[in-house]
Each structure stands twice: as structure tokens, then as C-alpha cells.
Amino acid sequence: MENLWFYKRFIIHLWIISIISISIGCEQQKSALSGNEAERVYVAPGTYDEFYLFTSGGFSGQMGVYGLPSGRHFKTISVFSQNPETGFGYSEETKGMLNTSYGFIPWDDAHHPQLSRTDGIPDGRFIFINGNNTPRVAKIDLKEFETTEIIEIPNSAGNHASPFVTENTEYIVASTRFSVPVPQNDVPISSYKENFKGTISFIKLDSKTEKMNLEFQIIVPGFHYDLAHAGKGASKDWAFFTSYNTEQANTLLEINASKNDKDFIAAINWKKAEQYLKEGKAKTLSSEYYHNYMDEKTHSAVSVKKTSVKVLDPKDCPDMIYYIPTPKSPHGVDVDPSGEYIVAGGKLASVIPVHSFSKLIKAIESKQFDGEVVGIPILKYDAVVAGEVQNPGLGPLHTEFDGNGYAYTSAFISSEIVKWKIGTWEVVDRTPAYYSIGHLCIPGGDSKKPFGKYVIALNKITKDRYLPTGPELTQSAQLIDISGEKMKLLLDFPTVGEPHYAQAIPASMIMDNSKKFYSIDENKHPHAVKSEKEARVERKGNIVRIYMTSGRSHFAPDNIEGIKVGDEVYFHITNLEQDWDVPHGFAIKGMNTAEILIMPGVTRTIKWEPKKVGIYPFYCSDFCSALHQEMQGYVRVSAANSSVELKYSLGN
């Protein structure tokens, strides 16, 4: 009896406890039991992501900034393209950043973000990105998340194998994808083999000034140089460049550049090149190109025209460059964390060839050559190759590393990521990508110490993955967990522009250095006004300069009369705010440019040429305060021959 009573009561209480437990829910257990994907990517409101992800904007010419694991989009950094959202490339201060030897170019095609490194590990100071169309390399300062420097690359076209950095960011590389006559010349296109050349450029980052300089170019046969990575560890003095079109075709490359069984990886000993440069082996080639950078004190672009570059010819510089035969138009070239293995993505090949750096050195020492191309020795494939990954998927392109002995290769045609083991070359796992994956990214995955945890697939095609948006659909990234044996898809998220390459870094390496505002005391802009008392309007001929201040919630002055049709009006606006997240915007009716966004403590200028008589309102275009709607003013524009006097005011 007693036992039965005890038993009944025990069962009832057990039920109550179970029901309470179920109804309350138990998130931790759920994730432990089922590995709930939603929880793995959920970043609670008000909390921060663990990683920053920087994606190339592709044909938008910009760079996207996202958080991982959430996939939340934080910012689009203006790089090579005018951006009406910020006024980049429209304001007088930033226009100079887009100067080239072909004039002002408001667009480019940006492919490969690359974080600066110290001792082979991303250090969070800068991120570089290439402009492919009009060869350029940009530097973005990660204190500001703004483009602070752009250098043009002369004697090149299609700057694709760029801007990969050496172990301590001594150099940033660039190279020619579409060979052209060097120097440029008016020749028949059919004279390709005779006249077309490539260049491989080394841009030096000055360790003190942190400015870029095109230190030297190596002139190379007119193949198409496609991608690159610098060595690390044992191979740190070297950089590797894939090439295709060793056939040197100039038409229907689809067929004509795919004939050879093997193309080349160019292995360049940049230390040796540096030494030849010092020894005076370089010739000076007259070349026109621009170097643009933002002056820290005036917040204005300084645009410098350069007229020559030092060029090294492999014929005069033995032991500086070798060709490694590599199957079928190799695309990516990726160096494992140790620096020993050089992985090629043979995009038309049925295997992934992996070269060995130590074998490369031995093959050079024992002269295991298989001919040469204009003085560049071709190494024997078998003397350099360490192994081949069999069945790697169709169209292997790019490889990243997890730091635990595994490599992850994207396969474009079969649309998957293939995980394989370094050393045994066996494929251990594969996971589909939706769809047509190009690059992939593991945080720090091309560095000496990958941070691991995730691989991000960067996909060209999304077809049925998102709500349709007409003929053009979004491109996307996919977050895949690599912490276990098997890869596991966690999240899809759309990206700004076409993501080519991307790089990710722990947020802790950047966020504490993030700038909040610019000190107004350090603003040395020639047209800055440091107090409302100095705000004024000045006319010299038909040039009118309006020295204006902004602060929550008015402009000074806000009533301006005596402007005439035919005037060239410059609004020089200084944002006097000294607080975080308080930029002011400025726009005036009928302006043929774009809004300018003025960061706290900064002066920005927009040029306005009024064409019609009338009253023109201007206003703050970035919400700033409870009285943001009131932050406005008027400009009176009179006829060219009018006698309305110039005057300005604020308040009565």
C-alpha cells in the first residue's frame, strides 16, 4: 500500500517537473542535442558579432563589412566608385582619390580584400583591395573604415592577381591579367606574341609613413597572370602567381587559351628582386600614373602624378623568377600555413596539384629544368609537385586552410566545397554551395595562423535561394561551420555587389581602435571654420565661398542672398560636433552632384553652380536630432546682372 502511494505520487511529480521543464524550454540542451543552426548564428540584440567579414564589392567597386556569425551588414566602404550615400568622389576633398592617368574615373571592379599582416598573421591595421579595370590598389584604414590611399599601376591591364601581401606587409603585389604592349603602343592586335607583355608589380608599404610606393615592376612574357599569394615561413621571401593563356591567344580565348596541358605558376623571389634593384639592375621606364592619399590633417585628397617606374628584366636578373608547370589554366594559388605547400586551383583540371616549396628549392639547386621562356627557367613538374588531390570536384578554384591540417577548396562547376587532408591529399568531406561558388574564406585562412571556426562560401548565382527581384538576383555568402569533422551549413546571407574574395578577422583585433570622431582642434583644412563666429560668405569674381558650420540642429549661416546665376559656389561645411555617430549631411535643391556626409570635426566641400533664379532650400540629410527637420536654410539666387547684395545671417 505504502509503496503504491509513493509510486503514484512520484509519477505525478515527475510529470509536473517534466512539463515545467519543457514549457520553460532549455536552449542549451537543445543546441547540445540537435546542434540548432539558428542558435549558432543568433547574435542577441545589443551584443556583438565575433568576427568582421570584409567582402569585395565586385562590379560595385566598393567593399562590404559584415558581422559573423550573424551575416549582418554594417557598412559599405567607398573605394573605387563614387558613392552618393557619402559624397565620396563628389566632394572636392575626395574627388582626387579617383584621379588616374586616364583622368577622373568614378568606377572600378574590386575583387580581392587582403588584410595587412605582421609575422604572417592579420594585424587589423589596414585592408587592401584591387581595382581590376583601370589597374589600382587601394588601402583602407581600419581605424576609420575609409579609403585613405589609392595607387595606380602603370604598364598593366586587368589588375587581377592583386593585392596580396608579404609576411610583414613589406610589399603588396599587382600584375597583368590582360597583357598589353609595354610601354603602350599602336600595334595590330594580331601582333600579340611579338608585342604584348605582362608586368608583375611590387608596391612597398613604408613601415614609418605607412604610405604605398610602386617600388619596382618585373617585365614578364605576355601570359595572363591570374591570382597570387605571397609565401610565408620558409617561403616568406617568395610570391607565387598563376598564369593562363600561355598560348598567347588574342581572340576566342575560351577555346584558344585552353589548349596547353599545362600553364605556369610564376615563383618570384622578391628578396632577390629587391637586391637587384639595390644593385642598380633596374631600368627606368617612363610611365604615367597617379598616387592619391588622404591627408590626415586636412582630410583632403593629395593627388600626385608620377612619371617613371623601375623595371627589372628577368634576362638581367638570374635566379629571381621560375615557372612551375601546372595543369590547365590554374586560377587560385594558395600557400598553406607552414609555407611549404603551394596549392593550385587548376580550374579545368581533374586534380588539384600541390607543389612543395622545399622540392622547388632542391629542383632549382639541381637545375631540374625543362626549357625556358625568354630567360625564365621552367622547372620539371615532377621535381616540384608534392601530390595531387584526386576527385576534388569539378572546376577547383581556391583553397583556404583551417590550421588543423586540412584544406578547403571551392569547386565552381560542381558547386561545392571539398575538404582534404594536407600530406595524404585525401578528400575527407564535401558540402554543396548554392550556387556556383567562386572564392571561399576562412577567418585568417590564408595566413600563418588561421582563426578557423567557419568557412564562408562566396557564390555567384543564387537562383531559387531568395525572394526574386526581377532578372537580377542577389549574390550571396554562406556560412559553414568547420569546427567538427563534417562541414555544416549554418546561414545564407546576401552581399553587396559580387563577392569575389573576402577576409575575416576577430572583431577584438579592430573594434577597440575604431575612431569615434576627428578632433576639431587638429582640423587643418584650409577652408575650415572653428566657430560659428567665423562663419561667413566671400565672393571673388564669380567664385563664392560659403564658410559654414553644422551642429545639432542648425547650419550657420542659414540665410544667404546675393548669389547669382553663373556663380561657382563652394559650400565649405565644418561639422563642429565632437561626438560619436553624429555626422551631418548637406544637400541643396538642384545640385548636380550628391549629398555630402560630414563626419564630426571634419570639413567637406561641395560645388554648386545654380542655373536658375529662385530660392533654394538646403538641409541636413542625415538624421541628427529631435530638431533635425528644422536643420535647414535658404539660398536666394538672382539673375546674373542683378544688384542684390551679398549677405548672410543666422537668427534675427
Binding site: W5, I17, M511
Partner: protein, 164 residues
């Protein structure tokens, strides 16, 4: 009751054990790094008598003020013009209150705390809340250093004597 006390105890211990096994440990709350100057969750509550008199901010006790230093007044005037002048005039009510006699309205400590920590005062100090009702716009944080705020205070101490 047939069940004795010791059985009773064991029974509840058993239930407790089951409950504990079933329960999930409270996951540690992620504490985002204290990034920036946003004051999170400032607990609204009673102000101390010192705070009522002197505002909320880095100045937590009465200061001893030296005689007015003309050099510092000059420095303060310059900073006032750049960082405050867009909203404050000395003798006229503008975006914010006229400042010539602010030293007569508020303690020096209050003036410093208000310049250095406006957000918290707008949220918690009854006098400052009233100001928001009157002026509609909240004074922005201009991220002054303590020394800059001291220089502006020196300027206020001086200008009150120059009343026209």
C-alpha cells in the same frame, strides 16, 4: 501518515535531483565590451544630496577653486567658441540658455559635470530634465577633456564679472 520523516526527506531530495538534472544552467549573459560612451542601463533612482546640488558626473566632491587665471580664461574662451558657441551665447537665450551668469545659477561642480556627462544628467537629474522641456534639444556631448571643461569654467567665472 505512514511515511516517516527520513523517507520524506529522501523523497524530496530525489525530486530535487530530478529537477536539477532537468533544468538547464542559466547561460552566462554575454557582456559586450564597453565600447564607446553610451551609458547603458543607467539605473534611474534617488540622487544623492551631492548629485542634486552638483550634478552627475566625474566630479564627486566639492572643489577648491584658485583665483581666476587669465591665461586659462583665454583658453576657455577659445574652446567655448569652437565647441559650445553654435548653441550658447553669453547674453541671449539661443539654442541653449544664456551662459554669462551660469556660475550664479549652478555650482562649479555642476557646470563641469554637465559639460562632461550631459546624457546622464538629462536622464536622471530633475533640474536638467526640466531644461529639456524648455529648450527641446538635448545638449550634445562634445567629448571635452577635464582640463578643457575646467578652462571653460574659468571663462564662466570671469565673464560674470564683465556683465554689461
Amino acid at each position: 501518515m505512514l511515511i516517516n520523516k527520513s523517507k520524506h526527506t529522501k523523497y524530496f531530495l530525489l525530486l530535487l535531483l530530478i529537477a536539477v538534472l532537468n533544468a538547464c544552467g542559466e547561460s552566462p549573459k554575454q557582456d559586450p565590451a564597453d565600447f564607446g560612451n553610451k551609458k547603458k542601463n543607467v539605473n534611474p533612482g534617488e540622487l544623492s544630496p551631492f548629485e542634486m546640488e552638483n550634478g552627475i558626473g566625474p566630479v564627486k566632491q566639492k572643489l577648491t577653486l584658485s583665483p581666476i587665471n587669465p591665461e586659462l580664461v583665454k583658453k576657455g574662451e577659445k574652446i567655448f567658441e569652437t565647441k559650445c558657441g553654435a548653441c550658447h551665447k553669453l547674453d541671449e537665450k539661443y539654442v541653449g540658455p544664456a551662459q554669462r551668469d551660469v556660475i550664479n545659477r549652478r555650482s562649479p561642480e555642476f557646470i563641469l559635470n554637465m559639460m562632461l556627462n550631459p546624457e546622464a544628467n538629462y536622464q536622471r537629474h530633475p533640474e536638467i530634465k526640466k531644461l529639456l522641456g524648455e529648450y527641446l534639444t538635448q545638449m550634445p556631448n562634445q567629448n571635452l577633456t577635464f582640463d578643457e571643461a575646467k578652462a571653460i569654467l574659468e571663462y564662466f567665472r570671469q565673464v560674470v564679472n564683465e556683465k554689461q
